[in-house]
Every structure is written in structure tokens, then in C-alpha cells.
């Protein structure tokens, strides 16, 4: 039942209607100046980037097994069953591990605020929960951004490639990367030429830290037994020496 977004770079005309709709939905200011900023920030949760005559869209990939959700110490970030990765501002203490860990460099921080929060695209979790599509998909005039069931979107992407093999790069970004992402990317060229990080493993990054974290019970057990044992031996030796000394005194 997980939803997703399919962004097709070949259909995008760079009109930035998605940016405007996104800012409106998230109560952020949007004007011509902000439109020119081609990067994500705390006041711009999605951005169209231009690469010659081609476009790419930056937004939270809403990973199926998100790195940010795994690293957040206060569980402020959550993956919902619908697909969006949401952020609970009331929990966040501002450690910024999510910013550091996200392989797509998506979460942004309100650096100029005295009491800052993290900002990121949440795939319009409130709208999706209400059965609507995301604001960006609704605003897109060409269908370059399409909202739907993730499985259906993957099938559609494959159809588009099969129908026009010359027009597309064969790889659908997001089907397997990091265990899959809710946002899928299609383009005429490999997406790394359009500023998207390539070469990501097909397993979630959270496994890397979990391998270490899952050793904690072993470390605790081994340390307890080893240190307790050493303590017992070293102090037992003392006791024995003391007892032997007394016996010797008695004899003499």
C-alpha cells in the first residue's frame, strides 16, 4: 500500500510549479529569488536543478529503510506505512546526525534561528494520509512528477522505457538503491550526470551501524565476566596469602 513519486526528467520543462506548490503547502515564502536557488535549504524543500537542457528534481527520497530514521536518537524521524518519512519537531534536540548521515544530503537546518529545527520534504504526509496526492504532483502541468502506488509507478516507469528505449537511460533510480526509495527517478542519461549521488549500495546504510550496535550485549557480558573473574583471582590471591601467613604464625 506504500505510495511513491515518479519523477521523469524527460517530461520536465523546468517550470518550478512543484517548488511553488511545495512552499505553499509547507507555509514557506516563495518568490523569484528563491526560485533561482537551485539547492535544498530550510526554506526550500524541493528544488529543480538545471543541467544544460535537462532538469533534475531534488527532494527527500523518502527511503523505504531511511538512514535518517535509523540515526535519530530521539525517534523524531519516522517512516510511515503510507510511504512518507515524517519529522516530529517536538522531539528534536538538534544533534544534526540526520543531516550528517543522509546520503542524499536532504535534511536542512534552520541555521539562523535561535531555536532551530530540521526541515525536509515529508512527501506531504498529511495530504497522503487524507487520501490526496502530494502538492508537487498535483501542481505538475506535464506529469513529470507523478504520485501513486510505488509498485504501479515502477511498472509504469518500465513501460515508458520499453516504449521509448532510445529516449531513456535504462536504470530506474530508487528501485534498489539503499533498499529502495519511495521517490523514483527516470532520466535520459545516468542520474549522476544530473547531480544525483550514484554508486549507492542496494542495502540500507543502517545495517552498517546496526552491525556494531548489535554487539553491545556481547561486549557487556564479556566485560562483566572477564573483569569480575580477574577481580576474583587477584583478590583471592591476597586472601590466600593472608590465610597462609596466619597459619605460619600459629605453627611458629
Amino acid at each position: 500500500m506504500a505510495k511513491g513519486i515518479l519523477y521523469d526528467s524527460t517530461m520536465c520543462i523546468g517550470c518550478r510549479a512543484c517548488e511553488k506548490a511545495c512552499s505553499e503547502h509547507h507555509n514557506l515564502a516563495y518568490d523569484d529569488g528563491i526560485a533561482l536557488e537551485e539547492k535544498l535549504s530550510a526554506h526550500k524543500l524541493t528544488a529543480i536543478t538545471t543541467h544544460g537542457d535537462k532538469f533534475m528534481r531534488r527532494l527527500c527520497m523518502n527511503c523505504l529503510q531511511p538512514t535518517c530514521v535509523s540515526v535519530c536518537p530521539v525517534a523524531a524521524l519516522q517512516k510511515t506505512a503510507d510511504g512518507p518519512v515524517t519529522y516530529d519537531a517536538s522531539r528534536c534536540m538538534g544533534c544534526r546526525y540526520c543531516l550528517f548521515a543522509c546520503p542524499f544530503q536532504v535534511p536542512s537546518y534552520q541555521w539562523s534561528s535561535r531555536l532551530p529545527l530540521v526541515k525536509k520534504c515529508d512527501m506531504c504526509a498529511d495530504r497522503v494520509a487524507a487520501g490526496q496526492q502530494t502538492a508537487c504532483a498535483e501542481a505538475c502541468p506535464t506529469g513529470a512528477t507523478k504520485f501513486g502506488e510505488r509498485d504501479d509507478l515502477i511498472a509504469e516507469a518500465r513501460q515508458r522505457i520499453a516504449a521509448n528505449p532510445g529516449q531513456y537511460n535504462q536504470h530506474i533510480f530508487g528501485v534498489e538503491e539503499l533498499g529502495g526509495t519511495s521517490v523514483l527517478l527516470l532520466a535520459a542519461v545516468p542520474v549522476e550526470q544530473l547531480g544525483v549521488r550514484a554508486g549507492l549500495p542496494s542495502t540500507p546504510l543502517s545495517l552498517l551501524t546496526w552491525n556494531a550496535l548489535s554487539e553491545i550485549p556481547n561486549v557487556v557480558t564479556v566485560c562483566c565476566v572477564a573483569l569480575g573473574g580477574v577481580w576474583w583471582i587477584t583478590h583471592r590471591r591476597e586472601e590466600v596469602q593472608a590465610a597462609e601467613g596466619k597459619e605460619r604464625e600459629k605453627k611458629s
Partner: protein
């Protein structure tokens, strides 16, 4: 407090201290009023800088002498190290308190620092770090408590402390092991960002071993410094023994690092002319040189040479932590970061605070064997503070 003869030298350091304090306080004001954006050069692409890399990572590592010596004396029952146990515990306790202070600067919303204790996510390394900091600071406070209790002759409380001492020491060792290694685990999540000379799945292990080295080096460093500053007798046989142990630990550490690089096949990276290469060579040299030196009798039986080696190891340790947390991730983040003056001012402020509190504690608490040595020797003492001449207990 201040001998007339040494007056000029002390005023110089006092002046440095006050300048650092003033700078730190002004930087704190900037941090509070203008937020992280106004006080740091951090950005979305580079969210962790000097405060995490130096104040937190190095602060925790340099505190490792505390649990190492506590285990040596109380678990391994090597009693002759007792004279330097208290200074080591004090260093560790101060280190952790200052790390928490640094976190108050670095966290976006410091008043929520307690959140990880209530809002759990056991899959997060940061969650583990938060718990370890909290619990181990508590353990250190308890391990340090006898010093204060002794100072105020609270005999009954002292007896109670003696009962819980061994479980407390074991708990301290476990928490430290987890904490030191978890700081390395933090960086396991960024395989695509951290330069391959440092990124390895063994980072938790390496952080732990290098922390042991730093803890020993720190203990040698502070024994030497204390002997000079407080006119205290230097326990040469003790720091000599630690120097030799340090040599062994360093060789274990260096061998493991080398084998890891070899098995991952990243040694050819050393041929690249990149800043990472030079920083890596600098870091390794700062471990290798003292390692070779410390195996020599001439070096480990000479106090000044031991001190020099300890300083090198400490610098190597700081280089390693900064390489992992700052310089090693710059290229991967696609950004050049250099700390803003406020970041440096706060860091100096915290370090100076550490030195000052250590000095203060040594003066008024029975940290070193023989009570409070500074009192008995110096007549220019504020007479309102009673001199305690207790024989230090366990």
C-alpha cells in the same frame, strides 16, 4: 597561592586565561543571540565541525585514563598505581563534564539534551552515545565522591562507597568501552563521505584502542604537569611503566590499522597528492615515532622524554579524531570547512576551564597522596580554608 618568585610567569598565564575567558564568554553570547549560523561555519552540507570533532570526540578520548587506571588498581589489583588514580579520575570526570558543556553549545536546542533518555531509538548510535555519557558521568561522579567525602570527614558515607566500589568500577569500564567505541560507530553511517584511509568497519575497535593510548598518554602528561605546577614528587617508576605499556598498545594499534588498510586494498591511495594523504601521514607519524621511542630504555626511564612522547601521542590522537570527523569528510561533503573564530574561542574557553578547575580541585581536595600538598608548602594561603591532613583512604 602565588609565590612571589614565580609571579611574572603566572601573571602571563593568568592573562592568557582571562583573555580566553573573555573571548569564550563573548562567543557564548554570539552563540545564544545569533544561533549556530551566526556562531559557526556549519552548513547543511557540513553539519558537524570543531565542537563535535575536538570538544566531544577528543574530550571523551582524553578522559579514558580514568577507567584504565580504575581497572588497573581495583580490578587487576596493581596497588602501586594508586597514587595517580585520583588525578586520572578527576581528569575523566572533568572531561565528561566539559563534553556535556560543549554539547550545550553544539546542540540546536540544548534544553532538550535529556530527550534521548525518554524518547528511545535503540537503532541509533547517537542514542547509545547519549546514554553512555549520562551513565558514565554519574559513575565518575560516584568514583570521585570519596575525595570530597574525605575532605569533609564524612566517614559513614565513605564506608558505604567502599561497598559499591568494585561493581561501580566494572560498570565504568563497560560504559567506557561502549562509549569510546560508539564514537567510532557514529561514522560507520557515512561510507560515501569519509575518506577510505579512515573509513573502515573496524572504526569502533580503533576508537577504543586509540582511546586507551590517549588515556595513558594523558595520565603521563598530567603527572608531569602536576609535578611541575604543584611542586609534587613525580612518580617516575609509575609513569615509566605506563610509558612501556603505551608502547605495546601503540604497536597493537598501528599493526591493526596497517593490516586493515592492507586488506581493504586502499594503501595505493597514499600515492595520491591530496590533503588527506598528508594529514594521514602526519597522524600516523605522531603515533609511530613515540611508539619506537618508548621501546627504548633511555626514553622510558627519562621523565622529560616520556612527557615528550605522551604529548606526541596526544597530538596524534587529536589528529586522528579531527581527520575522521572534519578533514576526512570535507571532500565527501563537497565543501571546505574551517571553524569560525567563535568556534575556536569556545573550544579554548572549555579547555582553559578544564585546566582551571583541575588546578582548583588539586588545591582544595585530597587528589594527590599526602593530602593537599599545596597547603603545607605555601604560606601565602587564604587562612580561612582549613587545612586537612587526612591520610587518604582507599
Amino acid at each position: 597561592m602565588i609565590g612571589v618568585r614565580r609571579f611574572p610567569r603566572l601573571t602571563f598565564w593568568q592573562m592568557v586565561f582571562f583573555v580566553v575567558m573573555a573571548g569564550g564568554l563573548y562567543a557564548s553570547y554570539v552563540r545564544v543571540m545569533h544561533g549556530l549560523g551566526g556562531a559557526t561555519h556549519l552548513s547543511d552540507q557540513f553539519p558537524w565541525g570543531l565542537w563535535i570533532g575536538f570538544d566531544v570526540l577528543c574530550g571523551v578520548g582524553l578522559a579514558a585514563g580514568g577507567f584504565t587506571l580504575a581497572a588497573t588498581v581495583h580490578i587487576f589489583n596493581i596497588e602501586r598505581y594508586k597514587p595517580i588514580l585520583r588525578p586520572a579520575i578527576l581528569t575523566a570526570f572533568l572531561g565528561y563534564l566539559l563534553v556535556i558543556l560543549a554539547l550545550m553549545f553544539d546542540l540546536g536546542r540544548p534544553y532538550r539534551i535529556w530527550h534521548p533518555l525518554v524518547m528511545w531509538n535503540p537503532h541509533s548510535v547517537m542514542f547509545e552515545v547519549g546514554w553512555c555519557v549520562t551513565l558514565y558521568t554519574t559513575v565518575l561522579a560516584l568514583e570521585f565522591a570519596p575525595v570530597v567525602l574525605e575532605r569533609f570527614h564524612l566517614v559513614r558515607a565513605l564506608k558505604a562507597m567502599r561497598i559499591v566500589l568494585i561493581p561501580l568500577v566494572i560498570l565504568g569500564v563497560i560504559l567506557s568501552t561502549l562509549h569510546q567505541s560508539s564514537l567510532g560507530s557514529l561514522y560507520l553511517i557515512v561510507p560515501e563521505k569519509l575518506y577510505p584511509l579512515w573509513y573502515t568497519s573496524l572504526m569502533p575497535v580503533f576508537f577504543f584502542i586509540s582511546a586507551l593510548c590517549a588515556g595513558l598518554a594523558m595520565t603521563i602528561f598530567e603527572s608531569w604537569q602536576s609535578s611541575r605546577a604543584f611542586g609534587k614528587h613525580l612518580e617516575l617508576p609509575l609513569i615509566s611503566g605506563m610509558g612501556r605499556l603505551l608502547a605495546v598498545l601503540l604497536s597493537v594499534y598501528m599493526t591493526a590499522r596497517f593490516l586493515d588498510l592492507l586488506h581493504r586494498g586502499v594503501l595505493p591511495l597514499l600515492a595520491r597528492r591530496r590533503p588527506e594523504t598528508y594529514l594521514f601521514i602526519l597522524e600516523i607519524a605522531l603515533f609511530l615515532v613515540p611508539m619506537f621511542l618508548l621501546f627504548r630504555r633511555k626514553v622510558y626511564s627519562n621523565a622529560s622524554a616520556l612527557y615528550g612522547c605522551a604529548v606526541m601521542v596526544l597530538l596524534g590522537f587529536v589528529a586522528n579524531r579531527l581527520n575522521v570527523s572534519v578533514t576526512g569528510v570535507e571532500a565527501g561533503s563537497g565543501i571546505a570547512y574551517f571553524p569560525k573564530w567563535t568556534e575556536i574561542a569556545v573550544t579554548l574557553f572549555i579547555v582553559a576551564l578544564g585546566f582551571a578547575i583541575f588546578r582548583f580541585a588539586v588545591k582544595y581536595l585530597p587528589i594527590f597522596e599526602g593530602g593537599v600538598p599545596a597547603f603545607s608548602k605555601d604560606r601565602n594561603i587564604v587562612s580561612s580554608v582549613p587545612v586537612v591532613s587526612t591520610v587518604p583512604g582507599d
